[in-house]
Symmetry: C2
């Protein structure tokens, strides 16, 4: 991640103590006391999260699969690419294939890693892995009991325009679509 | 955000009660009991955050400004575009100009809105606004007392390649760079 030629040791923060605040089903929250390189102390509020996987699933007709779901913290329905939370210790590719099947009833004969993202590195440990799924085979959606979402297909070009028009606020959805567009553009 | 022609009422979640878990300096955590449209109940763990602003600052030589900082939850130094947290009630543009001045010692004669992003809509209310800053004028960096970061300049083309090579994990940095590249590509 960092350039090994440039020394960034003066930016380091050392943990002095860690106080557990909340052990939830999805997140764990802690408040750590840290020491900066100038020896002064500060607090860091940290949300621990097991990480996630999202999938840009592209049909043979160059449509992508999107899910609409109610996002409680924003009190709105968003349109996002399929995604899910990693079980602790789970392989991201296994998780991605499971979520694509559960949310969209779909398996992919081609599953390629597109990179990862830190959604909020200032206070959250979550890493989201992105996969490109192609050669899709459709079967049946099988959601968790408290999961409600609608699946739709959209031409990739339309989805790309919607990202540029700021109609898809979800970060992982923007990155997957913009990155795939850039890769297609470079390949052409 | 949603298509008004498509009814998504069946996806809605209604708050029944809210339990405050943690009131931190940066985040507030709560655990809400909600009712789904099929009348069953579930819990939602929610991180409340005031939101943030990030700035893609582009010099006349088409270089961008990047900051290196230690990201405690990931225990690593990342390279990101300048950004900061909104004060409650603060106008995003005002915040963006302040952060650009504090982190990079820089003001911009051109400041354009590029859109926003929800970094983790499943459990966090944060919205990050993106601005494009041009016609830059440089003065002096003035960081918060517990803030340590290094500023560097990089040709935009190099930064774009690094995003495609997955060397910039930060979500807002990836989106700002990919979106600006797509806009430049459409304009050319």
């Amino acid at each position: 991640m960092t350039n090994p030629k440039i020394n960034t040791d003066h930016l380091n923060e050392t943990t002095l103590s860690s106080e557990s605040i909340f052990n939830g089903k999805i997140i764990h929250v802690e408040r750590d006391t840290i020491q900066l390189e100038d020896k002064s102390q500060a607090f860091r509020e940290v949300v621990r999260h097991p990480g996630g996987v999202c999938i840009l699933a592209v049909t043979d007709q160059e449509e992508i699969l999107l899910v609409k779901q109610f996002r409680y913290p924003h009190q709105t329905v968003t349109t996002e690419i399929p995604a899910g939370k990693l079980e602790y210790g789970e392989d991201p590719e296994t998780c991605g294939k499971r979520e694509l099947l559960e949310e969209c009833g779909c398996t992919a004969n081609s599953f390629t890693y597109l990179g990862n993202l830190f959604p909020t590195p200032a206070y959250c440990s979550e890493v989201i892995h992105i996969y490109l799924a192609k050669d899709l085979v459709f079967s049946k959606q099988s959601l968790d009991s408290d999961e409600f979402l609608d699946v739709e297909r959209m031409p990739f070009g339309t989805a790309f325009e919607k990202v540029l028009e700021n109609q898809f606020p979800d970060a992982k959805t923007q990155i997957a679509i913009l990155k795939y567009a850039a890769m297609k553009n470079q390949a052409s």
